[in-house]
């Protein structure tokens, strides 16, 4: 079917609605990478087999990630007249049971994490009500989706479809309002009007720097060139951030629609999506989505009969972090090594193949259709004065609830870490949040009430970056974290600028000295000086922001550095050279598990059995390689780390 008019789009919406809400039970397995890594494929298989074998009246479906990645595999069941239920940590065995129970009008309450009675269709400003008249047995006490602490502060704009549609079905995207914004843009708006709307919305680039999107589009529109390009940066390299992956795997069409609208506004006829090599599942989903969009005439010649033509090419990266930098990304597409260029002229005027090029990241493109459907006024009411809309954060590390959360800009770190994230596991003490990836910094506990937006994060020496938030507790060593990022950056620096190539390397060397007990107080001054030079003298922002992890940890955790330097102690018990393992003989139960686990046979003693008395185990510190296996293996906390 080719879509040539709005009526065709409406017809497709009808088809999509039948797939979204078939007149029977539908069971969906979250099969994004996070689901697959915990065995969602086996769960899917088990359900499919069982449904076929027992001839159950259930449709088996797959979907993306609903954000609560920690509880994967997540399976949801939807049936007319009943509340939608979400199961967590499903195994193939559990899956078989919950399917049968459902047919018997029953749920397994303790495996559920929430239920849902209506679904937010944010693009169209309405809720899709499940009109419930039938309550399955065992559901009492299950909290509602919108009440669960993990979700109740969230506002899902970018993640609107993730976990609710099958990413391989374009009609399901259309059913929830997809591609109607494209229609509006092509037939009801002039390019200048679209750009005006984006400018008024206040949308800023979600890739890190936060440049106003509308302004970027405008300068690209005004730039003169034979060809213009629209690019999508899906080279999500910041470790700890994975919202782009989730959007591409769960809702690829939202990005494609945004790009077509952008291309029309700017006057581009060719586009590229640059995806990380490390995201095979995202590449596959994009491939399918692009093909579908082409087949029905949403990409290619004469889109929707408007006369406008646009094509998107998929470009697979080569595993280089620096290629997330705009000019390096463009060089990479041109078939060169991805080294940043000097930006005397903006890429909007001279970018890919020296033509005007507009690059935005996945989340930015994904926001575009919603801004057109709901309007700039609505969008700009969300967020803070200078940071509008929502931002997706991946809240990971030492926190109870890990996953993707989308919140209005301006929410405090405390709300994200403690209300949504549920605080720190194991009763440990919160220490810091690392934001902005290797370009960002560590924000200490004293700033936990900081409202999160582009400018406030920069003020405290960190940055928004792409939205990774790594929570750290008292068992995370800040010197080690700084060393970790320098190790990362020295490996990923392209080597073009001496300041970055040598600066990151030297900072890493100094941090290694400190973590191994050879640090001096002068090292701290040297680190600050090196950091300053690296930032000032490097061409691109990889070098320009590289010292942030070091400088922010020195700024907020100087005492911890001093402890390493002066007392040769790592308070978090991470820096191996400064640690010593010991078995407490009065706690040791003489079970012998540690000696079996020890890879270097450094533990001696005698196992206690019914016949023999045994002898408490002991570590030979000369042999010990401090791998921590004994500490992890001991069930009685008899191994002490000093």
């Amino acid at each position: 079917m080719k879509i040539r008019a709005k009526t065709d789009l409406e017809k497709m919406r009808e088809m999509g609605l039948k797939n979204l809400y078939p007149g029977q039970a539908k069971i969906s397995v979250g099969m994004a990478t996070c689901g697959l890594s915990t065995g969602a494929d086996k769960v899917y298989e088990a359900i499919q087999k069982e449904v076929e074998k027992a001839k159950l009246p259930i449709r088996v479906n797959q979907t993306g990630c609903i954000g609560f990645c920690q509880r994967e595999p997540v399976v949801d069941i939807l049936e007319p007249g009943k509340p939608r239920v979400f199961y967590q940590e499903v195994t193939p065995e559990r899956a078989v049971e919950l399917v049968h129970r459902w047919v018997d009008n029953e749920v397994v309450g303790e495996w559920l994490f929430c239920k849902m009675e209506r679904e937010d269709w944010i693009g169209e400003d309405k809720f899709w009500n499940y009109s419930i008249h039938h309550i399955p047995k065992g559901i009492d006490g299950t909290p509602d989706y919108y009440q669960v602490p993990f979700y109740n502060k969230q506002l899902k704009i970018a993640l609107r479809n993730c976990g609710f549609i099958n990413p391989d079905h374009i009609d399901e995207y259309v059913a929830r309002g997809g591609y109607f914004s494209l229609y509006k843009a092509l037939f009801e708006m002039k390019p200048e009007e679209i750009i005006g709307e984006i400018k008024r919305s206040g949308l800023r680039g979600r890739g890190g720097a936060g440049f106003p999107t509308g302004n970027k589009w405008e300068s690209c529109l005004k730039a003169k060139g034979d060809r213009k390009f629209v690019l999508c940066n899906a080279d999500e390299g910041d470790p700890g951030a994975y919202m782009d992956r989730s959007v591409l795997e769960g809702d690829p069409h939202s990005v494609i629609e945004g790009m077509i609208i952008g291309a029309y506004a700017i006057g581009a006829h060719e586009g590229f999506i640059y995806v990380r090599d490390e995201y095979p599942q995202a590449i596959q989903k994009l491939h399918i989505a692009l093909q579908q969009a082409e087949e029905i005439g949403l990409l290619g010649e004469d889109i929707l009969g408007s006369g406008f033509s646009f094509r998107i090419n998929l470009f697979r990266g080569g595993g280089a972090f620096v290629c997330g930098e705009s000019t390096a990304l463009m060089d990479s597409i041109e078939g060169k090594v991805g080294e940043p260029r000097a930006k005397h002229i903006h890429t909007t005027e001279s970018g890919l193949w020296d033509q005007p090029s507009n690059l935005n990241n996945v989340e930015t493109w994904n926001n575009v259709p919603i801004i057109l459907s709901r309007g700039a006024d609505w969008y700009s009411r969300i967020g803070t004065e200078k940071s509008k809309g929502t931002k997706v954060f991946s809240i990971v590390g030492k926190v109870n609830n890990t996953g993707l959360v989308e919140v209005p800009m301006g929410i405090t770190l405390r709300e994200i870490v403690f209300d949504i994230g549920g605080g720190i596991p194991g009763g440990k003490k919160f220490k810091a949040v690392q934001t902005g990836g290797p370009s960002g910094g560590c924000i200490p506990e004293s700033l936990i009430d900081l409202p999160v937006d582009f400018d406030r994060l920069t003020e405290v020496g960190s940055m928004m970056g792409s939205g990774g938030m790594i929570v750290m507790d008292e068992s995370t060593c800040m010197v080690d974290v700084a060393k970790y990022f320098m190790d990362f950056l020295k490996g990923e620096s392209c080597g073009k600028c001496t300041s970055c190539r040598e600066g990151t390397k030297r900072m890493h060397e100094i941090l290694t000295e400190i973590t191994e007990g050879r640090g001096t107080l002068e090292h701290l001054d040297l680190l600050e000086e090196l950091g300053w030079v690296t930032a000032e003298a490097s061409l691109c922002q990889l070098g320009g922001t590289a010292p942030n992890p070091v400088l922010s940890t020195i700024r907020y955790f100087r005492e911890e550095y001093q402890e390493h330097i002066l007392n040769k102690r790592c308070p978090a018990k991470v820096c191996r050279s400064l640690l010593r393992y010991r078995i407490l003989s009065d706690v040791c139960t003489m079970c012998g598990r540690c000696t079996k686990a020890c890879p270097v046979k450094a533990i001696s003693g005698k196992r206690k059995t019914k016949k023999e008395k045994g002898r408490p185990f002991k570590i030979d510190t000369g042999k010990c390689i401090k791998c921590g296996m004994c500490f992890e293996t001991c069930k009685f906390e008899a191994v002490e780390v000093q």
């Binding site: 890594s37 920690q70 390299g237 078939g335 990774g468 790594i470 686990a597 791998c627 921590g628």
Partner: protein, 150 residues
């Protein structure tokens, strides 16, 4: 790979010089690394100086000039995996396989590598074996993981 097979890959990208990265990736998918002869042939066929191809092959982490084993294990050392002990998983694998990261076992079975974030941060520490992701790892789960791949 035969020259005909390489020709087919190049033609798949209409012989465009800008597709050099994709062409090298496709060759690597077949060979598990980039053999010298293949690079020389690509250079000659596409009229790209060998030094440029070599530069690309050494710049991108995804490309390897060294032969790789039948299986490839990538241990994630993204920030979230790092703070949750990804480094210990890597060390355990190094000990159990008796190789260092970046090396291949003598029997050519496994190549051990590290990767900076796979985007499965919620489930760290994470490793990927031949494209299949394993989450929630700990040192004691490593032997079972290794048994799955002969």
């Amino acid at each position: 790979m035969t020259n005909d097979e390489i020709n087919a890959i190049i033609e798949g990208y209409n012989g465009k010089g800008s597709a050099i990265l994709a062409i090298l990736q496709d060759i690597q998918t077949e060979e598990r690394y980039l053999p010298k002869e293949s690079l020389e042939y690509v250079s000659q066929k596409m009229h790209i100086p060998l030094v440029n191809i070599f530069r690309i092959a050494t710049f991108y982490n995804a490309l390897s000039l060294k032969p790789r084993g039948r299986h490839k294990i990538d241990v994630c050392l993204g920030t979230a995996c790092h703070v949750r002990g990804g480094g210990k998983i890597l060390e355990k694998l190094e000990r159990d396989l008796d190789i260092s990261v970046g090396e291949t076992t003598q029997d050519n079975r496994v190549t051990l590598a590290l990767v900076r974030c796979l985007g499965c941060c919620s489930l760290g520490p994470v490793a990927v074996v031949d494209g299949k992701v394993f989450g929630r790892l700990s040192q004691d789960k490593v032997p079972a993981l290794l048994k799955e791949f002969k």
